[in-house]
Point group: C2
Chain length 126, copies 2
């Protein structure tokens, strides 16, 4: 993988605002620095960075979202506004051994996501 300014800009954008943007949100943000960038370049680089393990995709039904923090953490999806928040508090899941014996195989990974209304959306409703 050669060095590329556009790819750098994509990573910077992801580091600057940790709101787990979609590909087109990233495209708009990078465009402020590189107005000539193509959406294809954004997708190409996102796929590449994911393959290298430098990014993770956090799709939840609709469009894919991207997170440059690849450390183990959980995401909270606001059902009202669609925003995604990080949760770093440690969680523990028990009952895995029984689940494994039920399906007769090893569980490699348990994926957890949360849903609810974020602080902003709860405040608006009140």
């Amino acid at each position: 993988m050669k060095h590329s300014h556009k790819r750098d800009a994509i990573c910077e954008v992801l580091r600057e605002k940790k709101d787990h943007p979609t590909a087109d949100m990233i495209y708009e943000r990078v465009r402020e620095r590189y107005p000539e960038i193509s959406l294809a370049t954004v997708y190409r680089n996102l796929a590449q960075l994911c393959a290298e393990g430098e990014l993770i995709k956090i799709g939840a039904g609709g469009k894919e979202r991207y997170d440059i923090d690849t450390s183990l953490h959980t995401h909270f999806f606001c059902e009202a506004c669609g925003d995604v928040y990080d949760v770093f508090s440690p969680l523990h899941l028990s009952g895995l051994a029984n689940a494994e014996s039920e399906i007769g195989c090893k569980i490699n990974f348990a994926h957890i996501t949360f849903r609810g209304r974020c602080k902003n959306c709860s405040a608006k409703e009140a």
Copy 2:
């Protein structure tokens, strides 16, 4: 919602084989009974049944899959063959209170999915 034979057939197909089929898998199966059915009818009815709470969607990145068992349970996605299995063993997640205070709002729902290799795929590799 009026009664419809095609919709009945879609539900039957989902009850007969609990492999969480995709829309086009359902289309193929219903076609054996109603060769004239349209894929649009399958999608229309699946959306309708989901809206009524009679089905759940269990998308995991790629195509959506559908499950007629709406009781609380977990899914295991085989990373090798893509098949989806049910897990009914009880699970318990702790650490939610800290997670809620971290993000400052109420978590309505914690969604858990498992990944690994199913029994068949593990056997093939050995």
